[in-house]
């Protein structure tokens, strides 16, 4: 296998087809999907760059994305070709030199962002757009092969997340629930764009779960799918987190648990039928979407290895679920500022603190609506057995109003929050014991604003993390000690990747308006 890779590298052949087999067991030199692998561990097996030499890595090239401001793209790399995106646009670049091969500009170029990445399958690159379309491009030339409408853009729908490709299908989610638009998860034929199935987040009257919505409130219930989920090829199950119910901050008209908002959903990938669900925050009034990346891993629980799904949730708890059955195993706070619940019941339901709900005057709520974490990706290292998460310590003053739904893509939040003036906003990179959620180490990031970058774990014993000050750092994955850093000069809001080409390993990240790749000196 190693030899085969070397031969291909010597021949300089690039941009081969990506098969389902490749996606299930990727060549470590490639980064083939948003979270690296179907289990979303964001762990690279590349180890040329390691704890011993990382201090000498240097920037190899910078690609400036024209017109970009704050990229959230996770680049993909297929045999030396890197695909990066921003809303309406895809750039294919030579991952060795940072030189452009082709670019695609979508029309209509609806101004709406962000775009978090593309997916690849066969000879195609898939982009979902602010105009709520799914676009298939030829991965070698950027030629537009087809485009299909996902939803009515004029109603306010759009699609920011990277699609997920598997078994001749492309899985696509939708936004935004904050406008009272009900979400779904779709599967499309990878070759033709034909829709194969749709799973609706909000059940219609008569369907299971519909009694969790009072009256007609289900019609504008929100619950969208604006980040990319995970997949277990053996179980053939897709795992996807769902967004908040609408209106976000006022639950008076939508009494009930509001299924399946803020839940983890397991769907049969062939049929789109739900296998199980677990709702993290029933009847939420804090806009705590549960779309955070579900990480799939196998680990011992009470001495027995189990197939797990773990998620650090925006509501402040780190959850461990059985991914075969959806059974709740444990839940532990991973932030210190958490005032809305005293804990979780044995079934995983929050034990709420009375009165921590938005009011006209405002109620201090911790974590803030920005969440104990958010879209920034976590990582898991099978070497250290640690789960790594970007934690946000902070509180908000949450207020409530009455609001009526207006069709056409208007905000339907019934007011919102401000950051609490009493607690400083503080970002952390934290390592948790995967089975218990126990804090192992804590790396505070000096930061001014919220929302930092995601994480990347490598077999070189490293954890790469960026921050809102523009610093891109390599930490020792076992201790959290910083070993290397580089000032990219712009706020980082994306997650890093690792890839290799022609025998050399690289780490890359979108920083502000640029993508920067790092490697060992020549």
């Amino acid at each position: 296998m190693r030899l085969a890779i070397l031969c291909m590298a010597a021949a300089g052949i690039a941009a081969a087809q990506v098969s389902y087999k490749d996606l299930v067991k990727p060549n470590p030199a490639n980064w083939l999907m948003y979270s690296g692998t179907y289990d979303s561990q964001r762990h690279s097996a590349l180890k040329q760059i390691h704890t011993g030499n990382v201090k000498s890595i240097v920037p190899k090239w910078i690609y400036h994305v024209p017109g970009a401001t704050r990229l959230e793209t996770v680049p993909l790399v297929v045999d030396g070709v890197m695909y990066i995106s921003q809303p309406n646009e895809v750039y294919a670049i030579d991952a060795q030199s940072g030189r452009l091969i082709w670019e695609y500009h979508h029309q209509p170029a609806t101004e709406r962002g962000p775009n978090r990445g593309v997916s690849v399958y066969g000879n195609r690159v898939y982009l979902s757009t602010p105009s709520a379309e799914l676009v298939a491009l030829d991965s070698r030339s950027g030629n537009l092969l087809w485009k299909i409408k996902l939803a009515e853009a004029r109603d306010g729908y759009w699609s920011p997340a990277a699609p997920l490709a598997l078994k001749d299908k492309v899985i696509v989610g939708i936004a935004p629930g904050d406008h009272g638009l009900n979400g779904w998860l779709d599967a499309y034929d990878a070759a033709t764009g034909e829709r194969l199935w749709r799973w609706n987040v909000i059940p219609k009257p008569g369907e299971t779960g519909s009694d969790s919505w009072a009256g007609d409130s289900w019609k504008t219930g929100g619950g969208d799918t604006w980040l990319t989920g995970s997949y277990d090829p053996e179980l053939n199950l897709l795992y996807w987190g769902t967004g908040n119910p609408a209106p976000d901050f006022n639950g008076d008209q939508r009494k009930g648990d509001n299924l399946y908002t803020e839940s983890m959903i397991a769907l049969d990938a062939d049929t789109g039928k739900m296998k199980w669900y677990f709702q993290f925050t029933p009847h939420d009034v804090h806009d705590w979407d549960a779309v955070e990346i579900p990480v799939l891993l196998d680990a011992p629980i009470d001495g027995k290895t189990r197939k797990l799904l773990v998620q650090a949730n925006r509501n402040g708890f780190y959850y461990v679920l059985d991914r075969v059955t959806g059974q709740f195993l444990s839940g532990t706070p991973f932030v210190k500022l958490l005032n809305w619940a005293t804990g979780l019941t044995p079934q995983g339901r929050p034990i709420r603190v009375p009165g921590i709900v938005p009011t006209l005057q405002g109620t201090k709520t911790c974590p803030a609506t920005a969440g104990a974490t958010n879209w920034m990706s976590p990582a898991y290292s099978p070497d250290t057995k640690l789960f790594y998460v970007v934690a946000q310590e902070g509180c908000g003053i949450n207020t409530k109003s009455t609001d009526t739904f207006r069709p056409g893509g208007y905000s339907f939040m019934a007011t919102g929050y401000i950051e609490s003036p009493e607690e400083p906003w503080q970002m952390h990179v934290r390592a948790l014991e995967v089975a218990t959620g126990k804090l192992v180490w804590d790396y505070p990031q000096l930061s001014a604003k919220r929302y930092g970058a995601g994480l990347l774990s490598t077999a070189g014993g490293l954890l790469f993390a960026g921050d809102d000050q523009g610093q891109f750092a390599a930490l020792d994955a076992r201790s959290g000690k910083p070993l290397w850093h580089f000032n990219t000069g712009q706020q980082i809001s994306a997650s890093p990747i690792a890839y290799g080409f022609k025998g050399k390993d690289y780490v890359a990240i979108a920083a502000g308006s640029n993508v920067v790749a790092f490697g060992l000196p020549e």
Partner: protein
Amino acid sequence: MLAVIVVLLAILTQSVRAQSLPRYDIVRATTPIVIDGKLDEAAWQHAQRVGDFHFNWWKKGEREPTVAKMMWDKDNLYVGYFCHDKHISAKVTQRHGPVSKDDCVEIFLSPNTSRPKNYYTFEINAIGTMLNRCRTDWWTGPPTWEPEGVTHRTSLHGLPLKEESPQDDHWSVELAIPLRNFVRDAPHTPPLDGDEWRLNLMRTGGVTNAQDSTWSPIPAGIRSFHTPEAFGTVRFVNPSVAAQPVVAQARGRVGRRGRPASTNPLGRGSEVIEGGRQLYNGSCTVCHGLDGTVGDRAPALAAARRYLRTTDDDLFSAIKNGITGTLMPAAGLPDNDVWKVVSYIRSLRATASDEFVAGNVEHGGQVFHSSSDCGTCHMIDGRGGLLGPDLSNIGAERSSRYLREALTTARPLIPRGYQPVRLTTKAGEKIDGIVKNEDNFSLQVMDRSYRLHLLSRTEVQSIEYPKESLMPSHYGKTLSPTDMQDLLAFLSRRVRQ
């Protein structure tokens, strides 16, 4: 009197509530609109009709339908009417005359939903006479009103008199109302995406079968168009995905965005262009060259370079008045002839989709994909090869003249991204393909099997750049004239929707 008004208002409010008022989404114009009364632009095809007109006071006679559509851009609201009419008559030629006694269309519009009684009227009869009023609480001027910059044409425009005739079948109106006229009342000028206004569209019927009809129904008991309470609601929206002109192309952003709408009253019909060509070749060729191709003393107007004057109005002014400080004289032609020359000059640079390229389109597609070898290198809508540019939108990007030349004449320069290359790597591999990109230290090559080779210069043993493009130029000889014409007709219609 007061009591009567109160009662009337009560009836009005009740009946307006009882009927639901119509709504309509006004989409952005996706192509420039030429106000020529023809409604033949692609954008009009995309726009939805407002819906059937109501015959509020009908007693007897044929209810002849009206097809009305609206569009907008940052400058104008566009209104188009197509009136089925077997008895067309109009005689009012005096500006602000009583045009509603003729066959006439009207639009009353209120740019602010919170002040619906502030409304503006535009009434145009079949021969193009217009009457305007500004019915607002702030207007202190005369009973009539002079809106700024309104352009309109009817299909019978300028006739001194239109009498009914057995040939009568229909007439049409095209109207562009600059949005700046409503700055005093509209919340935003131009409107923001999603802004709502209220308005009604109406029609009167002339002499024989003089039916009145309206888009938004007038409540029973009211006999006036001046009923803002009954105006329908329109919403300014960006167009649906399907109705957008698409300029999506790997490498290169050739587009037609932002081309200003023209006020050329003659439009771009083939007779107009032919008339313009004759005038042009009669007096302009001395400096600008025959057919605008070679200019000795002045720009070759058909050359592939930018004009300084790009709008129809700019060209009109240059021809009519000359250009001070240059050799360009005033033409001394009547206005209509000047407009013909403008249309001709514009046609020299129109993209193929804006020209009428005759030919069998279907057969042209067969020539492209089968009998000729175009599809080996070029892709259209996902079908074809990758070495040449994707041609799915070529009709909107190039003129038919350019396309013909590309097929028949070798080009002196090969565009970036398509330079042929033959190289041997130090590992001994031979690569034959095109350079997608390169610099002093690296190059990115697509070989003839569409595989990408990403190389550092240090990996390259030898390299040569053949001077001939991969694009053959022999089609003038190898294709029959019919095949060539059909191929051009096919290519001219490749516009991505």
